[in-house]
Symmetry: C2
Subunit: 335 residues, 2 copies
């Protein structure tokens, strides 16, 4: 415990994120103040939102150049100057991209007994809560409705589509590439998955959603949101979860048809983040655990090895190369 | 009753609407089928939506080139082959831009006893219902909240801001030109009105909405919507009523920040039209009538004279030259 590998955001990207924007450094393992605990990072979550944080303040303060890159991670308490946690406790919080973090105990949450630990980033973590709340609390979905899900092979989209199927909806995904689309259909059980890199998205939407789209779960914004707006039915609902198509763009575009189509079709668009529904968290986690345990919900995880794989791992995630929840194994599971 | 002046949409505009897109013709007064009534037009409503109808199907079918221009009007039944209405009854419906219309009785509604008749287009008509439902049913507004209203001097905006004041909100308008803005502040009682033609809208929003915007009532879309999105508070609500800035544009633009800002600020945008809340119509009309009668709500009307003033009247409305509800007097009030 004498060195602490850290990855900094060396430079704020203005367009496409590259590995050159990051810098690895060996720091010291930090000393603790009263009320703090030292946490050894085990599993670092990679999320499209990490890129959005570089653009400025969002629902949290911006990541500034020169700072240790922000990120949620699961870790083990290895030293404590707080009555809240003891050595050996497993916790989750914003540990950042580093091996060891000195954290105020009050900003950490304990991780429950469920194992494998990876599930606390995927189905029982922010991805699972985002999917459950974003679909069922933000917009709702009814049996027989058509649900469209972008980034269908990603951490959240893969769960949203499966939850839609559990609720009796007809579920159409959008993803990049024929192989991934086939995987979304065959392994995740979506009714169909449209390859947005192949031909006209509007035409494919007309073909696969002949009765129009009732609910669109939007992870991406941009051109796919725009095509979806034109495919929406009267009184359609759009759950706005993210805008990954825009984060890496030097010239973001707004969707035509906003607000015109919202008026003529009486659409509702509503943005949210996973933490907005604390009163529903327990019920959502119970659902997700049951569905995953019974095999109704397939949990797909994409675990990279070693902290230094994080920069390329995030860049690849923004390009859509992951399947399911991407995370980085920073260290061994607690004994 | 031997001739019927009609105004056709001669050509579908691709950009800015001009008088050359219209054509006046003298037609014949139509003969009636069973179930129809002949209506003499009295007051024709001019609305920004008239322009949207030329762009294609919206919440109603498009106005096609060669058709009599569509429009809502109040008129007097002068001949009836329906048991629903008798000669002398005053009705409202989609009579179009013409002196006489043969209408199926079932698509007409009777006009109540309240006079002047003009109020049935303004405070007790679609403008009033749009303002009441769009503010109170679609998004709601609470005492002490900041309400931003675009097209603040227009038929709907002028009412929305006043309803906001009645409900205890701090109300900031957006309108074009210093004189109109002063009028919105002094005559309509808004707390302030920003001239979007003068300087930076974002800066003016920061100045006049130091605590941010809780509710934005959007009549215009485009650049003003975009600036408003950046000024919204967490959990802000946007009532999408129209997109007048886009109707007349050959190169419409989508707002940057959709969907990104919707996520980070957890905003809701919801589109509607006046007819979406039939269960609330009676209560809304009672409110509006009370407020208007007691002087809490100033009813502002802008009545042009003669059917042939309709094309220039609509063009001027799209340019923002009207104050309050614009309509055209086509014929004398019923005796």
């Amino acid at each position: 415990m004498t060195s602490n590998t850290q990855i900094l955001l060396a430079e704020t990207p203005r367009g496409k994120l590259e590995t050159a924007h990051f810098q690895v450094q060996k720091g010291e393992v930090p000393a603790l103040d009263d009320g703090q605990v030292l946490v050894r990072s085990v599993l670092l979550s990679l999320d499209a939102a990490n890129r959005a944080w570089m653009q400025g303040a969002t629902y949290k303060s911006a990541v500034e150049a020169g700072q240790v890159m922000h990120g949620y991670a699961i870790g083990e308490v290895v030293e404590s100057r707080s009555s809240k946690f003891s050595s050996g406790d497993v916790v989750v919080g914003e540990l950042g991209w580093q091996e060891y973090a000195a954290m105020n105990a009050k900003v950490l949450r304990p991780v429950g007994d469920h194992r494998p630990l990876t599930h606390h980033h995927s189905v029982l973590g922010i991805a699972g809560l985002t999917a459950h709340h974003g679909l069922l609390a933000v917009v709702g979905v009814n049996e027989g409705e058509t649900l469209l899900v972008s980034a269908a092979g990603g951490s959240v989209g893969s769960l949203v589509g499966q939850i839609g199927k559990i609720k009796g909806a007809r579920v159409i995904g959008v993803a990049g590439g024929p192989e991934k689309c086939r995987w979304v259909e065959e392994k995740l059980g979506f009714d169909a998955c449209i390859d947005y890199k192949n031909g006209s998205l509007s035409k494919a939407l007309r073909q696969h959603c002949p009765d129009g789209v009732d609910v669109y779960f939007d992870n991406v914004g941009g051109d796919i949101l725009q095509a979806a707006l034109f495919a929406m039915n009267l009184n359609g609902r759009i759950s706005c979860c993210g805008a990954v198509s825009q984060y890496d763009s030097a010239t973001p575009k707004g969707p035509l048809g906003v607000p015109g189509l919202l008026v003529t079709k009486r659409l509702t668009m509503r943005g949210f983040i996973a933490g907005d529904f604390p009163d529903r968290d327990a019920d959502a986690l119970r659902d997700l655990d049951e569905w995953a345990s019974s095999g109704k919900l397939k949990v797909v995880e994409d675990v990279l090895d070693g902290l230094e794989s994080a920069p390329q791992g995030l860049i690849g995630l923004l390009a859509g190369e992951n399947r399911g929840k991407r995370m980085v194994r920073v260290g061994a599971d607690p004994a």
